[in-house]
Symmetry: C3
Subunit: 295 residues, 3 copies
């Protein structure tokens, strides 16, 4: 059961190494993430391995998809991501490697994890992983831990330059990707409407699906007031006036604000408070938010 000690010889000098960045819903309380790291180190002890987060809520593909989109563009071109939120492990869902328009690679089950990357950055190429050739030696009898045996192993070989994108398996049509439904934000009647996609977890800010560029069409400037209305399904559950501000420091402690988040989208927060908890608001496709300039 022991991986051989790797011997990076002359070949190491000819390979192009990229960072390997792991994400999962495994948490950090047991050894699951460490096993993935060990497999990657066994592929090449020189690999630089980092993380998005391993605290994706269990089975929450939407959140996994979103977090990839949150970080992708801050990592250098060529970085190889591995994302394992995989409630369907052992089913006939495919294992794929996607190449984004930004030149990053993502190794993942094809279960919707690529939804936001495709919508925001674009998936330009897609390949199915040939699991007969690309799996940890000795793992043929393992059916429940593809994160370690297939995804971490394949991601490490891509990052180490041992396997190329073209090697991993047959090309697929990116149009056939499994996608989670996402509603397009809309501008109508002088206001914009979108969904609450996720939270800035620790601070409780609402991260909406509304791009700054769409909001900009309302002609609202820093310091202007905007009415925030939140509907859960068809019921208005929250309405408040907030200030559009460049930063938290532009409003008082305890005051609410509308700002542009790190994904270049509109977000709503209480300065040093927790907006979602304060007003019992949730996230997902059933939570709609409307931004309506106060005139």
């Amino acid at each position: 059961m022991t991986a051989p000690r790797s011997r990076p010889g002359r070949r190491a000098h000819n390979r192009s190494m990229s960072a390997l960045v792991l994400q999962s819903d495994f948490g950090l309380d047991d050894g699951a993430v460490s096993a993935m790291y060990g497999v990657a180190v066994g592929v090449d002890p020189g690999l630089r391995i980092h993380d998005v987060t391993h605290n994706i809520p269990p089975y929450d593909i939407w959140e996994g998809s979103y977090r990839l989109a949150q970080v992708l563009s801050y990592w250098p071109e060529g970085t190889v991501f591995v994302s394992v939120v995989d409630p369907g492990v052992g089913s006939d869902r495919l294992s794929v490697v996607a190449r984004t328009a930004t030149g990053h690679l993502v190794v993942t089950p094809d279960n919707g994890t690529l939804t936001h990357l495709d919508a925001i950055f674009g998936i330009t190429e897609l390949r199915e992983i040939d699991e007969t050739r690309h799996r940890r030696p000795g793992s043929e009898e393992s059916y429940t831990f593809h994160g370690r045996d297939i995804y971490a192993f394949t991601g490490a070989r891509l990052a180490a330059g041992i396997a190329s994108f073209e090697d991993v398996g047959p090309a697929l049509d990116p149009a056939a990707l499994v996608r989670l439904p996402i509603a397009e934000p809309e501008l109508a009647d002088g206001r914009v409407t979108g969904t609450i996609d996720t939270l800035d977890v620790r601070y409780g800010s609402l991260w909406t699906s509304i791009p700054r560029t769409l909001f900009a069409q309302l002609g609202v400037g820093p310091g202007d007031r905007v009415t925030v209305r939140v509907r859960h399904h068809d019921t208005v559950v929250h309405a408040a006036q907030v200030t559009y501000a460049r930063s938290f420091a532009a409003v008082e402690v305890g005051e609410s604000l509308l700002y542009v988040n790190s994904l270049d989208r509109m977000a709503i927060a209480i300065n040093r408070g927790h907006y979602a908890r304060a007003f019992s608001l949730g996230t997902g496709a059933s939570w709609h938010v409307t931004l309506d300039p106060v005139r």
Copy 2:
């Protein structure tokens, strides 16, 4: 108090470097783990340092022992583990380095932490750390943080190839290791009995002590039904029929299953549920589980 900036000279090229992998019950909320990392980086800034987990419940030696066994074989031969779950720091418990039959090294207090590694993989050699020679320079007056001053320091020097296993101190007889009591799983009357050793923390699956190979003697095949009975001390606290399946995807969402986990042992789960919480089940030597094929 400052460590000197390391100067890896020609010697670095002649040394064999291994990964250093840390585990503790320190949590990640304060600076204790970072201090261990800093000491290791001070030994050799080129070291690759990774983790098993630092969220072992405080003082829980059993869990520390188990998590090492969960990950060991996925790391390359030669990897140096440091495990610090050390309620007896400052007592006369020994500090040791163990070599496993798989060729890994483990630096740890001799307090039971090596129990599962010995039972599953075998400890072939054991040495006591000579703490007069192997401790962080300047730490002679420190009595409460051996994790940093002795274990991380010694582990880093082993991983960096600065100290060898033979250097660390006198050889001990592996038979004299402190061992936690573990009950052998048994096959009798056409059923197997073992203990609930731990949980797959985030998903709540019961990880039993029953090896796949022992269970295989019952002749149960994928799709067959098995009765799971759990006793706490001598009382049956849970009984249910579940399906033996290769993967979670083979049963419905919300359905229970018996499967082979990443340690090649039998585990019991609810697909997308939390088995332990659903039935208020615990872990440890007082929790027995019997698998009885439905005929």
Copy 3:
């Protein structure tokens, strides 16, 4: 939005590389920390990046200041720390790089984060970051995430040897640093008084501001008894006799002790218990503790 793949050419061989060590109050549940890592890897893929902790309670500058002081001296000279607890992001608070008397660099907002480093180790030089020259290319329109765009970026360039301390911007007088108020521990009438500065989070030990050297003037030896009195504002909320011990193992399980912590200061704990929770004690400037030898 994509960072260019870095091309470390001949220049890499002439640069002196140091470890980059990150701290924040971002938590590990979303992608904020990963974005900082990505920016640093984009600066130089060869950087060794580690952490203090990212679980500083949101906006808690005191805790951020304390944790830096907890770990600093265990990292090699030259290590570059980045600490982002930044409730005033977007205000006119300065961004600075400090050099400590121990030869470490710290990149941080000047909001009190350097208080304990200055008090314990001394800040010998201070420079303001010229944010027009030292920020992630493309981040000019970002006003809310200086942790990623300015601090991680600048810290990475310092650690990689691309920028020097002298490069970052104009020198400031270290005397002008923003400092949180800290009360000096006092010896009077045969007892010492200080504050409860923080907890050893997982074990609940009280970490006081009282240095071992001050306590030593009381002439108390291992095994002697000491009365611990805790006042919250002006009310005594706790009093107990404890044993002064070199290590936890010197007292029974469940017994309280006074010991020297890893910052060389006095701390109070219950062996395998949680002192702060047991007696409902808090931390900060309003929590005073007196150590009074039993005679």
